[in-house]
Subunit: 241 residues, 2 copies
DNA sequence: AGCTACCAACTTGTATACAAGAATACATGA
DNA sequence: TCATGTATTCTTGTATACAAGTTGGTAGCT
């Protein structure tokens, strides 16, 4: 392919807009490249991205809504600490939604395209076992396939939002504590139970799958207690129940 | 109580901020005081509230995230049409979450304060049967009580966001099609099954309750087809099946 | 009349300037 | 040395000015 009449290979010449800033910051926070508690000056971000404060603020407003950033008026903007409340809540919401999704998929079936996409996601995970970012991307894609396949629109975005807090913990050291082979095996089982149209088996398998993910998160939380805020009211439920 | 040293009874002297604008617009959209498709000029809103475009835009960004407003760059800002996709999705998410919530509440019990709050909400609904806004407020409060009572933080905000599209339909003519007495009766049954710690009965009752709410929404949709956008891919699933 | 080209008045997106509060460094006093 | 008052310099929140694009009306021509 001959080069088009575009003057240069440096695509970065055009400054990013508010949406790009939002995506970039969100990814950096979830990937833990921006650590909980870290300060984010609006002026500094604008300088770094080569734009003014206005689009930076638009991005920050959305990130505050997602619970990834905390703004203290006239004091500063900070990456939100990982909240135990938020993690517990995310686990509950994800469990409820994904179990309902997998049951719906197993009861009413999935389109052929979705089955193929899930198989591809499993395949990609097998080849990405050593790269946390690639592995997580394929993991997300696997789960998202079922959410989008049951015909209720973009349900996954709800899980995705809740999962953000959660994923920050996973990115602390995914490969160290999570048994990757086991996760992929469970993915295979989940897909096969859905293909076999067995809702009870699908629900049971997914329940075990999500439980393992939570256990690894709890372990990671104990290893890095400095990044987590324990805002649980009742100390009896402190252990993420 | 003698008047404090505040100069006047006109509390409205201070101009509203971005958060107030957001709440006001959100309520007006859900209450259908702002109709789907209606145009919202940023300049006009700023003039109406007595502030500049900046805080108005901050509010609009959040409302776009919630799917209540659509912005067409350089063309205009509009109240989002009621999307069939969004309604179906909201129903699925609400069903999954509220069923999980009520089951959790029935299995592990609720704090005494939550029980009292639910009773109060039922009481308020009995006295607000003729006022849609008051009735809906008490209805929300009833359901929210269980969500907040199970100790997983502010789960209700997830349901609340999804429910927004839904509620717009209900506000088209709540009293005309929804059997209010039946709804209140179901609330009483739900609360009693939770108090009796009977998860299966609680789930069954809530399932019927949510189903009735959906049925009335479908009826309302047929009465006001001009406000709804049919963006369902598969025409076979057109009936909100 | 009917069609085309243009222009003026809007829209949102972004940049910049100003306002008000909070924190820190520093001078000043005992 | 230690406490205290003050001023400077940060921060975010808001107001305003500019840039780029769309729309609708209208003058002019066929």
């Amino acid at each position: 392919m001959a080069p088009k009449n575009v003057e240069a290979p440096h695509i970065r010449s055009m400054p990013p807009d508010a949406e790009t800033i939002f995506q970039t910051l969100r990814t950096d926070i979830i990937r833990m490249r921006l650590r909980p508690g870290e300060r984010l000056s609006e002026n500094e971000l604008g300088l770094r991205f080569g734009i003014s404060r206005t689009p930076v603020r638009a991005a920050i407003v959305r990130l505050v809504d997602d619970g990834l950033i905390k703004v203290l008026p006239q004091r500063g903007t900070y990456v939100a600490p990982i909240s135990l409340q938020a993690v517990r809540r995310a686990r509950f919401v994800r469990n409820a939604l994904e179990l309902a999704i997998i049951r719906e998929a197993a009861e009413h079936g999935l389109p052929e395209a979705a089955i193929l996409e899930a198989q591809q996601a499993i395949h990609d995970q097998e080849n990405a076992a050593t790269d946390p970012e690639l592995f997580t991307e394929a993991d997300d894609r696997f789960h998202r396939t079922f959410a989008n396949g049951i015909g209720y629109g973009n349900i996954w975005s709800v899980v995705e939002n809740e999962k953000a807090q959660f994923d920050r913990i996973r990115f602390l050291s995914l490969s160290h504590v999570t048994p990757i082979d086991c996760l992929i095996d469970q993915h295979r089982t989940i897909l096969s139970t859905v293909e076999a149209r067995d809702p009870d088996a699908a629900e049971q398998t997914l329940r075990a799958h999500l439980s393992i993910v939570v256990e690894s998160a709890v372990t990671l939380m104990r290893i890095n207690p400095d990044l987590i805020v324990n805002d649980i009211d009742d100390p009896l439920k402190d252990r993420l129940g």
